[in-house]
Symmetry: C2
Subunit: 373 residues, 2 copies
Amino acid sequence: MRRWLPATWRTRTARSHCVTQPSAPTPYSRTTQSLPPCCWSTASTLPLPEVDEQSYELQISGVGIKETTLTLDDIKKFPKYTLTACIQCAGNRRGEMSTVKPVKGLDWGSAAIGNAQWSGARLYDVLTSLGLKEDDPKVKHIKFKGMDTDVINVPYGASIPVEKGMNPRGDVLLAYEMNGEPLTIDHGFPLRVIVPGTVGARNVKWLSSIKVSGCESPAHWQQYDYKGFSPSVDWDTVDWSSAPAIQELPVISAICDPVNGASVKPNQGKVKLRGYAFSGGGHQVVRVDVTADKGHTWHTATLEQESARPPRHWGWTLWTVDVPVSPKASRVEFWVKAVDNSYNTQPETINNIWNLRGILNNAYHRIKVNITK
Amino acid sequence: MRRWLPATWRTRTARSHCVTQPSAPTPYSRTTQSLPPCCWSTASTLPLPEVDEQSYELQISGVGIKETTLTLDDIKKFPKYTLTACIQCAGNRRGEMSTVKPVKGLDWGSAAIGNAQWSGARLYDVLTSLGLKEDDPKVKHIKFKGMDTDVINVPYGASIPVEKGMNPRGDVLLAYEMNGEPLTIDHGFPLRVIVPGTVGARNVKWLSSIKVSGCESPAHWQQYDYKGFSPSVDWDTVDWSSAPAIQELPVISAICDPVNGASVKPNQGKVKLRGYAFSGGGHQVVRVDVTADKGHTWHTATLEQESARPPRHWGWTLWTVDVPVSPKASRVEFWVKAVDNSYNTQPETINNIWNLRGILNNAYHRIKVNITK
């Protein structure tokens, strides 16, 4: 697989706010409802920021709000909320996209995604305590900055719409725990933002400041890195302002077990497949279908997911299905597609969703396996 | 096109709560931001209910609420809200689906959709005034009944999740006006529910009662008529309880002008195409792409839509694009796809989304036209 990645893009994107070891395949043994942090470290090419918990301070400022500085202890005085959320990088499954035409970005497999239980204070509670009104017409976005910086010393920045950040049902957390333990440095210690249902890039780690604003973050990662374009747009014709910054991600699924190219022995004529599915914006995955005959027959998987009221399905869905294969087959291609509760589903192929950054690849995930007797 | 429709299904579905003349093509001249009611009448095979405005009463009852009866004047005493919302039937574009394999349902074209300005009281205000709390754990659904009945005298019924109905940002209206005029009888006079971003079937007309409840409507139209299944599920194997009742609809688009089979004369080598796009749940349509060469080249359309804050893009998006065609071509096939702000897009073909009721057809819309000199 060709890797076509200028160094400047590499440094800008690689230590981003995603969550897993994205170049590895995702063995299904790691896809449980809560991954331990050791299975979930972030690929980093720049040094992680050095953070001292005792001197840590979060700056909060902006429109309609009392400017303040909070310590970690101050944050912990707010009511503690715990939720399960799946965080996915927009570049998940980028590697497949570059098989159609080269893209700029790391050749990630299907593991740029993870699921965990997060605990912290609600952003809603913190900002409300500082006087922000839900319906302040001057406020449109909530900006975050991280303590990490790029090669030219610009701190990481991103923003979310105020309708998400100041919605008590939006469940945005200032999180200090992951799976019941303090965040590790890889996961944004001492404090990160969890924006459930929203692309990893907005889940800012090593949070240094929050700014309530009438405009979107001007940061590179908001204005350029994470936007989708038509397949006919290239680096010479792209108009970055013509597309919205990614917030919610589209419905996606992947086969984790077996992996592409594996040899598998059917059990009573059937191959067991397992994987994950996810949809952004709190949408629930309601069906996962797998085919071994290019769509002539679809087998509906059994789903495992946390119960939640709509639209707060923040976690991923794990699925399992036994698919019959012909006794004569020596090689079988499997496809998977998921359907969410708005009945959005995935595009069949990458061709018509290809884009110059190689993001948002939610085409059917396809693997080929060798059948052994 | 084969019409395969037992009489019992026909009577159950045909006078449903959709909005347009669904078997007709949609001339673009009719797709403006607000259609006059005369362009928007409902196909009905059962008599419309007879309603006397003076004696009209709306019954409201259920869990956590003071039981009451309101007249139309009582409803009009609540603050009046006006919004633009697109209402689409789940069976829009069903006709194309039956070209893959027969389905049960009317062979509708791409006109089972419409856009209008609606005015009325917010359901949130009415139910709050009767004592309902947003977070009452016993309340899960809000049920509606219409004054129209099916052939065995069962009144039309449907329900929506309380998270939509009791969300002040959900914008659910008890509407008494359409485009600034009292509702016509076709559109649900004197009162109908407008559930923006939600399938037509939940936008109950001729509203007779509202019930706040811990469970979904048991009505046929909630439990059977509007659910999606895998292409491999047929009438012998369907498990109706295995799929959720449709609420939000997936992203869709259609070419309205020219119509399929038309003869068109290019202007300076280009054919002008126009149509609509829409996505459920308040999602904004952010891009519409058209191809004349099976996806090798995509041309991005100019969009016309009302401004709105996320996630309240309740109206449809109209689009226009000039697509170059080869000077030698005598017949060209055009495809359209839309992308919404969660970057969900449409499946390429109907094959893998086919379902026994022929609903939820949001595959690329494809037309063939003859090129004249």
